[in-house]
Subunit: 376 residues, 4 copies
C-alpha cells in the first residue's frame, strides 16, 4: 500500500508543532513527506528542507509556489500539513484546497474571523478534505468517553468542568514560541483562549456532544505589557441544560499541559486528564469508582480502535496526534474512491474550527462587556 | 490542668456533625462534655444524654432551659457547641453569649441574614468568644499554605481556583441529612452554596488572605423539585487583582468531599486537596514541583504546630477539626486570664461567618440577575 | 456509661508513642487516664504526671509501685497501657496481669524471646486481657480487605507482597527515638525488623489469614556502627502455598511510613497503602480496577463498623489506633460481665506478639545462615 | 539524509512486538522497512509482506533466503530487526551478522544458553552492530535516573527494589502470545523471569550501574499445568554492597505492565514506574520529595536528549522504544564512517543479553536448590 504524498507549510528549524506533525504522520506509515515550504524566509526554507531530506526541487520558498508546482506534478502532494502561526493558516489552506489538495491544518483555525470565513468558503467549495488538528480528540480514552456519553452511561448531562492550565508564560518571554503566540497580529485577538482555550472547548464538545449556547468570560493579561489574555475564567451554558466552567491559563506555576475534563450526568461521572491519557475514571452513581485503562478490561471498542499497544504500555501525545493523521489517511484513501470514510465523524474539521473562532470572539466580547452572557 | 466544661446544643442520635464535634473536643483532652440540649424533642434529648453518659440533671429539654440552668451553676458550662441545623444557630448562640458562655458554632453562620445580624450584634456585645467551625482551616497543610502565601513564597497572587464537589444529592434523597439540608426553612436560601460553597470560599480567603470583591454566579437545581441549588458555578474577583472561579456541587458522581484549592502567583503555585490533606504541592516557578508533607522535611512551623503524628502517619478530618477545638481551648484559657490568645488569628469567627452569609446572598442575587457581578 | 479507668507505664515527656496511645484512648471517650508511671526517672515521672493533669498521688515513680497501689484502690485502674521501650514491656505487663488488670501493650512484644515466653505464661495465667497495638489492623480498609479475602473475593491466594519503608535512620541519629530503637539492649536483637518488619508481617497475616511457614532473610546494617539491622529483604512461604516477599527499611530516602500490602489470588487482587488508608484498590480479574473508599459505595460492613466519618472525610493513623482502643473497651466491658467480646477476633494479642517475636528470631537466624530458609 | 534500509524477521500478522518495532523504526524517520521474512510459514510471510507494502521480491519465505538475497543486493538491507519467539533469535541473528548486516534483536537474547553463546561468538566475530531491545532503557527519565546515579546524586547505593507485575496469565490462556511464551521449547526455560524478569534486572543495572553478584530465587508456576514459572521472588546482592529484591509476576490481578524501580543511596532516593514514564521522583535526604518531569524544570540533559515533546505532553512506550532505534540509527551511520557512536554506551547489546541469560539460568538453578545463593 503506497504512502500518501504529504507536503508541509511551515515547520522549519526550531518550530515545535511542525516536528510533532511529522512524527504523527510517520507513526502508522501512511504518509511520506515529499515537499515543503518550511519557512517564510526562502533560504531558511531550503535549509530546513535539506535537513529533512526533501528533494531540493520540492523545497519551496513560498506556499504559493509550492501549491502551483505540486498541483502540476503527476506525483504531486495529495495532502498538505499547515503548521504556521495562526495568521498564516487561511491563505495556504485556500491555495491547496482550490487545487483539490487535502489540508491538515493546525488550530486555531485562523487569526481573524474574516480569514476563517474565507477559509470556510474555500472548504465548502472544494472536494478536498479539511482536517483541523484538535489532537486531543485522538486520545483513545477521549474517544471512549465520547462513546460512553453517547450511549447513555452518564444519563442526561448536567455539569461540564474543563480546564487547560500551563505555566510557561508566567513571566514575559522572548522565546520563538512565546513571541508569536502573544502577538495579536500573528496569533489573533485571543491569547490563552485561542491557543489552549479552544482545545478545552473542543474537547468538552467532542466528548459530550453538546453545543455551547452561551458563555460569560472574564479575561486577564497578568503579565505587564502582554497584549493578549494569559488567563481566562468562564461560565458556560450548553444546549440541553448542562452548565459548566472553563478555565485556561498560561500563568499557573506547576502546570505543564494540564488539560482536564470532568463530565457529570444524572447517573454517572467521567474524569480524564491529558497528562495521564491512558486512564479514564468512571463512576456509575452509587457504585465504586473504576479506573478504565486503555487496553484494559474496561476499554471500549472506540478506545481499542485507536490503540497500538497493550494496556500498561502507555501511549502518549504523539500517538493521539497520530490518530488524527491515521484518520486523515483513511479518509483520503476513501476519497480516492469517491466515498466518505466513517472516521470523519471523529475528526475535527471546518465546523470545529468555526466553533473555536466564534468561541474566541465571544469570550473577548463578553469580557469587554464585563463578563456578560454572549452567544458564540 | 482541668478540662473545660462543655455543653452541646443539638447532636442527638443520628446526627452527623454532633458526633464529629464531640470527637474533636476529646482528641486533645481539653474539654469535658457535661451538659446538653441534644434534640429539639425533649424525650429524645434525654435519651441521647443518657447514651452519652451525661448527668440526667444536665440533659435539658431545650437550649433556653440549659442556658439558664448552666449559667446559674458554679460548675456550669464554660463553652457550648452548637450543632443544630442552620436555622437553629442564632437563638442558642445568643442565649449563651448573653450569659458570657463561649460559643463554638457550626457553619454556615445562620439560615438568614437577619439571624446573622442579630448574632453578630450579640457577639459584639459579649465578652465571650464566638468560634465558627470552618474546620478545613484546621488542617496543618492549609495553615502552612496560608503561612507560605503570607510570607511571599508565591509573590503577588493572580489566580485562585477553588471547588468543593460531592455526589450524595445526585438523586432526590430522604435521609435525615439530605432532608434538612435541602429545606430552605432550615438550611437557608442557599443549598450547595451554603453547605459547601461557604467552606470553599472560606478556605480560599483563609489561605490567600484576600477579600472577595465581586462574584458572578450561575446556580442550578438539577434534581427536579429541589427548592435549593445543588450546583453552582461562579466567577470571582478578589481585592488586589486576583481572579478566580468557585465550583460547588452535590450532584457530581464520583466525588465524596472533593474540596480543592489551587493558588497561583507571580513566582509560584500551591495546590491542596482535602481528601489528601497531609500533602501540599508547591512549585516555585522554574523549579521542579515539590511534595510537602505534614511532618516531613518541607513542613513549616505552622504545620508542625497543628500536628500530632510524624510524617507518613496520616492525620485526617477529625484532627483538623480538633485543631479548631484546641485553638478554642487555648483562647478560652487565655480569656480566663483576661488576655487574648494569638491563635485567634487562625480561628474563624463572626467575621468569617458574616462573609459566608454575604457570599450566599450575593450568589443568589447574582444568579437571579443572570450571573451579573454582585458585591458580597 | 462511665469511662474505663486507664493507667500508663512510660509515655512521659518527649515520648512519641505514649501521646498516640493517649489520643487513641480519648477519641471515643471510652477511657480516662487516671494513673501513670510515666518515666523510669521518678522525678521526671512526676513532672509528666503533672503536665497530664494526673492526681499527684497516682503519678508513680515505678510501675511496681503503681501496680501495687492501684490494685489496692477500689477505684484503681482497670487497664494499663504499656508504652515503654521494648525491654520494658514484659515486667510491667506481668505485674499488672497478675493483679487482674487488663494490659494494652505496644509492639513488638518484648526485647527478648525469654521475656516473651514469661509474658505469654503470665497472659495464660491471668483472666485479664492482653492486647498488642499492631495498630494498622485498626484501619477500616484493612479490616475490609481481611473480610474480602475471608469471603473468597480473591480466590485461593498466591502472592503476598508487603513492605514498610522509612528514611528517618538514613544517617546516624542521636534523637531520643533513634537512640533506643537502635540499641539492642532496649529494642532487642532486631532493628528495622522488630520496629516495622513485625508490623508488615502482622498486616499481611491479618489480612490474608495465612500463617508464615518459612522465611529466608538478608539483613543489613547500612549505617556504619549501627548494631542492629536497618534494612531487610526476605522471601516468604505461607501455609497453603502462597509465596511472597517482605521488605522493611529505615534508610530509604523519600519514604516516611510507607507500609504497603498487595495480595493476589486466583480471581482478584487487593492493594492498600498506609499513607492513603481510606482507599483500597480491588481488581476482580478480567474487570476494571475499583477504588473502594472508606465510607463510599464499595465499603463493607467491616469498614463501616470501624469508621467515624463519611467517605471523603479522611480518617487517619489516630483513628486506626483508636479502633484498637475501642475494641479493647468493648472487650473490657464484656469481661466485666464475664463474657467474651466478638471484637477480640480482630484484636492482636499474645499470639500475634509471639508470631512477631518468632519472626524476628527467625529473620536473624536465617540471615546469619546466609538467608537459609528458617521456620519462624 | 536517506533512510537506513531495514529488514525484519518475524512480525507477521497478529504478532505484537513486530508492529511495535515497525512503529519505533518509523517515529524518527531514520529507517525504511524494505524486506522481510515475516513468518515461519512462507505463504503467511508473503501475505504479511503484502499487507506491509513490501516489494514482493523482498518478502522472503525464510530468514536464510533473505540473508543471502539481501546480502547480494547493492541496495540490500543494512540492518535487520529480529522479532521472532526467543528460540528463533540466534540463528537469524548469526546469519545476518556473518554478512555484516547490523542486528536489532528482541529480548531475551535466546531460548538457551547454548544459543546465546553461539550468538555472542558471532557478535564478537562481526563488525556489525548488535542491539538488544531492552526498550525500557529508552525512556527519557530512565536515562536521567542513570545520569543522576552516575553523578552521585544518591551517594553510595544501598537498596534496589525492582519489580515487574502483570496479570494477563492469571488463568491458563491459549492466545497466540500466551502460547509461545509459556512453551519452554520456544520461550526457553524461564517463563516470567525470561519475559519480564530480564527487563526488570536490565533496568536496575542500567540505572544503577551495578552488577549483580548473586541471587536467591523462589520461582512458582501457579497456574496448573504451566511448564514455566509465572511468578518469581528473589533476593539480590550487587557489587559494592547494595542489596535488593526482584519480583516478577504474570498472575497479579490489577497489574498491566507494572515495571517499577526504586533506588536508595546514602544521600537520596529515586523512584520510577513504567506506567507513568514521564515522571521521576527524587528525594535528596532531608528535603522535600520532587517530581521531576520529562521536559520540565528538573529534566536533565540525558532526558532532554531523548525527548520529542514538551513537558506535560506525555511520551510513552513507543517513544521509549523509538529511542533504541534512534540510537541504533546514529550508531549505524557512525559505523558507515568507521567510527563508534557515543550513544552505544546507552544501548543494550550482547553483554546485556548475556547478563539476562545468566540471570535466567541462575534463577532456575537457585530455585531448584531451594533458593540458595547463586552467582549469575
Amino acid at each position: 500500500m503506497s504512502r500518501i504524498r504529504l507536503g508541509m507549510v511551515g515547520g522549519g528549524k526550531d518550530a515545535f508543532i511542525g516536528a510533532v506533525h511529522r512524527i504523527a504522520s510517520r507513526i502508522d506509515g501512511e504518509f511520506e513527506l515529499v515537499a515543503g515550504a518550511l519557512s517564510s524566509t526562502p533560504e531558511r526554507a531550503r535549509d530546513s528542507g535539506v535537513a529533512l531530506g526533501l528533494d531540493p526541487d520540492r523545497s519551496y520558498g513560498s506556499f504559493e509556489e509550492m501549491a502551483e508546482a505540486e498541483a502540476a506534478r503527476e506525483d504531486g502532494v495529495e495532502a498538505v500539513a499547515i503548521v504556521t502561526p495562526n495568521h498564516m493558516h487561511a491563505a495556504p489552506a485556500i491555495a491547496f484546497l482550490k487545487r483539490g489538495i487535502h489540508v491538515i491544518c493546525d488550530k486555531p483555525l485562523t487569526a481573524t474571523m474574516e480569514q476563517a470565513e474565507e477559509l470556510a468558503a474555500a472548504v465548502a467549495g472544494s472536494e478536498a478534505l479539511f482536517i483541523l488538528t484538535h489532537n486531543y480528540t485522538g486520545y483513545p480514552m477521549v474517544r471512549q468517553a465520547r462513546e460512553m456519553v453517547a450511549r447513555g452511561d452518564l444519563g442526561t448531562l448536567r455539569v461540564v468542568q474543563v480546564e487547560y492550565a500551563q505555566d510557561w508564560l508566567t513571566e514575559a518571554s522572548e522565546s520563538k514560541q512565546a513571541e508569536w503566540r502573544t502577538d495579536p497580529a500573528r496569533t489573533g485577538a485571543g491569547g490563552s483562549i485561542g491557543d489552549i482555550g479552544t482545545h478545552a472547548l473542543n474537547l468538552a464538545c467532542f466528548v459530550t456532544g453538546l453545543t455551547l449556547d452561551a458563555l460569560a468570560a472574564d479575561l486577564q493579561s497578568f503579565v505587564p505589557g502582554r497584549p493578549v489574555d494569559d488567563n481566562a475564567n468562564m461560565l458556560l451554558r450548553f444546549g440541553g441544560g448542562a452548565r459548566g466552567m472553563l478555565w485556561c491559563s498560561q500563568v499557573a506555576p506547576g502546570n505543564e499541559n494540564a488539560l482536564r475534563l470532568r463530565v457529570y450526568g444524572e447517573t454517572g461521572g467521567l474524569e480524564w486528564a491529558q497528562e495521564e491519557p491512558n486512564h479514564l475514571w468512571y463512576t456509575p452513581f452509587g457504585e465504586a469508582k473504576r479506573l478504565l485503562t486503555r487496553g484494559g478490561a474496561g476499554a471500549s471498542a472506540a478506545a481499542a480502535a485507536a490503540s497500538r499497544t497493550p494496556g500498561g504500555h502507555p501511549e502518549g501525545y504523539l500517538e493521539g496526534f497520530a490518530n488524527i493523521y491515521l484518520g486523515a489517511a483513511q479518509a483520503i484513501r476513501a476519497a480516492r474512491d469517491g466515498s466518505r470514510a466513517e472516521v470523519l465523524d471523529l475528526l475535527p474539521g471546518i465546523d470545529a474550527g468555526m466553533t473555536g473562532m466564534r468561541f474566541i470572539a465571544a469570550a473577548i466580547r463578553s469580557s469587554k462587556a464585563n463578563a456578560a452572557w454572549v452567544e458564540p
